[in-house]
């Protein structure tokens, strides 16, 4: 089992380093922009207020006048979920389907390991990767923010980053399950990625498009950003819904993977 885990972690490492640099860079860039944006915050805010509500929701309607509002709008409601979902979906799709399509899964499963062990260690590595990525985001915000006047309570940042990891893992779980059930990486990427885009849009425009409103609870984003992820504090229901999606996906993956033929 430890050998499997070591392998799963090693497989994840390269992608993780890349995404880690990406997320740290994005956060640092937004932090560096903050002083100049703050100066023209009033103008910017009035410009944003003039936008249609649906657009405002999509771009992250944050109040640019406060550090928390800026971080929420620019990072936690936009680029943060994008990076985290891309990482988790990629890792989830790669876990089983990636190895299967590459042709390396055969030899791995010819050793005395159970399919479920392989699945569990790969899931663990993806969860670990998401947590590390969220940690990198939190650390960058905590360290790089203050010099640019972007000071937010560290506890809030950590809570928001935890939710960010959970949001990513809910989509990563879908990719993981589809990959484990079908062995098709592109399908896993496409379905999970499509779902992420679709639910993001539904969540964003639901407040203004009446017939979409009933669908909003079915989007992971609703459970990520209501109340506000950075200032609203942690909510058990939100954690349970997002964690639950990932958990159910894992169970589906284990069930389907155990029962099917490997593709060759």
């Amino acid at each position: 089992m430890s050998g499997l885990l070591a392998k799963a972690v090693r497989d994840e490492r390269r992608a993780l380093v890349g995404w880690g640099i990406g997320v740290a860079g994005a956060v640092a860039l937004y932090a560096a922009f903050y002083p100049s944006i703050k100066e023209s915050a009033a103008d910017l805010q009035s410009y944003i207020d003039a936008l249609p509500e649906a657009i405002r929701n999509i771009v992250g309607a944050g109040g640019y006048t406060t550090p928390a509002g800026y971080l929420e709008g620019e990072f936690f409601n936009t680029i943060g979920p994008l990076i985290m979902a891309l990482f988790a979906i990629g890792a989830g799709a790669r876990s089983i389907a990636g190895e299967e399509e590459a042709g390396t899964l055969d030899l791995l499963l010819s050793t005395p390991v159970r399919r479920r062990q392989v699945l569990a260690t790969k899931a663990l590595a993806t969860v670990g990767g998401a947590v590390v990525l969220a940690g990198v985001a939190a650390a960058t915000i905590a360290l790089v923010g203050p010099p640019f006047g972007l000071s937010v309570p560290v506890v809030d940042v950590m809570a928001a980053c935890l939710m960010l990891a959970l949001l990513g893992l809910s989509f990563g779980g879908v990719a993981f399950a589809i990959g484990a059930a079908t062995g098709r990486r592109t399908l896993a990427n496409a379905v999970a990625g499509g779902l992420a885009v679709l639910t993001f849009i539904v969540n964003a425009v639901a407040p203004t498009v009446e017939w979409l409103s009933p669908l909003r609870p079915f989007t992971p984003f609703r459970w990520y950003q209501e109340p506000e992820v950075l200032t609203g504090g942690l909510h058990v229901a939100n954690i349970l819904v997002l964690g639950g999606i990932a958990g159910v996906s894992y169970v589906v993956a284990a069930f389907a993977f155990d029962r099917r033929d490997l593709t060759s």
């Binding site: 050998g3 392998k7 055969d106 030899l107 791995l108 050793t111 005395p112 033929d261 490997l262």
Partner: protein
């Protein structure tokens, strides 16, 4: 002597397309068992059910008397496997790869891994992505042999190996035979099976055509024989011989297709003045023809290995 591999009416369909049908055979402990057939005959399908990569549609295969699915870990602990389409992790070096697999398997003596690598002239320090096809195949062999398994399952083991390394592989296999290791080896090349196996199953279009000892198989094989006389070929003298299936004369030359021993043909030929004799080792196609008769539809795809 216990049975190591036992297939009982093993049938596998992929959707509606045929994998194998009603495949039944037994491999006793210590035997080197060849699974011989053209590509697409169902060799790899059979092997993949043995390792629980795929599950039978009906029938079963037992390894060490165990179900590969229910007792997969116990089965695979004692099996060494070389896939037909070998894919390794390209970014690892040979040593990193083998150490990873050694830790997944447990019970691997590293000096033995190094010994195998040395004998196969394999450099373990190089990244796998820089290895030639033949060297990758050697990696596959090392990982299959390194834990000294009780059963070796080798899918087309010598593909990509140069002749010298094929000899080294045969030597390794012979040592395993001496140790009492059971070997299940698939091939589409008769000389390889002939060189390595005690017993062979011939598969064609998903079904086992025959299971026979190598000796029996060769006895049934069709040999093609060319006799060159110093005058017009006396084809009539050969047409009546029971072992002769086909006679074809052009000028001084006579082409014969002979089943089994050549004795009657040679004695008949001795009555004439023979300038030259050429025989060909039976290829896979000839083996099939030997079993199906010349009227039977020949397999669509066969590899004929003529060795004079």
């Amino acid at each position: 002597m216990s049975t190591i591999v036992e297939a009982i009416a093993l049938t596998k369909y992929y959707g509606t397309s045929r994998g194998v049908e009603e495949v039944t055979f037994e491999v006793p402990q210590g035997q080197v068992f060849g699974f011989l057939g053209p590509n697409g005959a169902g060799k790899t399908t059979t092997i993949r059910t043995m390792l629980d990569f795929i599950r039978p549609t009906s029938g079963s295969v037992l390894i060490f008397g165990l179900d590969p699915r229910a007792d997969g870990v116990r089965v695979r602990t004692r099996v060494g496997y070389l896939p037909g389409e070998l894919v390794l992790y390209p970014r690892l070096t040979g040593e990193e790869y083998l150490r990873t697999f050694a830790s997944l398997r447990g019970g691997v003596a590293w000096p033995f891994v190094e010994e195998l690598a040395e004998r196969l002239l394999l450099d373990l320090a190089r990244p796998i992505k820089d290895l030639s096809h033949g060297n990758k195949q050697k990696m596959g062999l090392v990982q299959a042999f390194m834990h000294r398994p009780d059963l070796l399952v080798l899918d087309e083991p010598t593909q990509g190996l140069d002749p010298l390394m094929q000899q080294t592989f045969y030597a390794l296999l012979d040592e395993e035979r001496v140790r009492g290791t059971t070997v299940f080896l698939s091939s589409h090349v008769m000389p390889e099976v002939e060189r390595t196996c005690d017993r062979v199953a011939i598969v064609r279009e998903g079904r086992i055509v025959t299971v026979a000892d190598i000796g029996q198989l060769k006895a049934h094989a069709l040999r093609s024989l060319e006799l060159h006389f110093d005058g017009p070929a006396p084809s009539a003298a050969f047409e009546g011989l029971p072992s002769v299936r086909e006679v074809d004369a052009h000028g001084d030359e006579l082409s014969l297709s002979v089943e089994g021993p050549l004795d009657a043909v040679i004695k008949t030929a001795a009555r004439f003045t023979v300038v030259n004799v050429e025989t060909h080792e039976p290829g896979l196609e000839d083996l099939f023809l030997g079993f199906f008769g010349t009227d039977g539809a020949a397999p669509a795809e066969t590899d004929r290995e003529d060795q004079s």
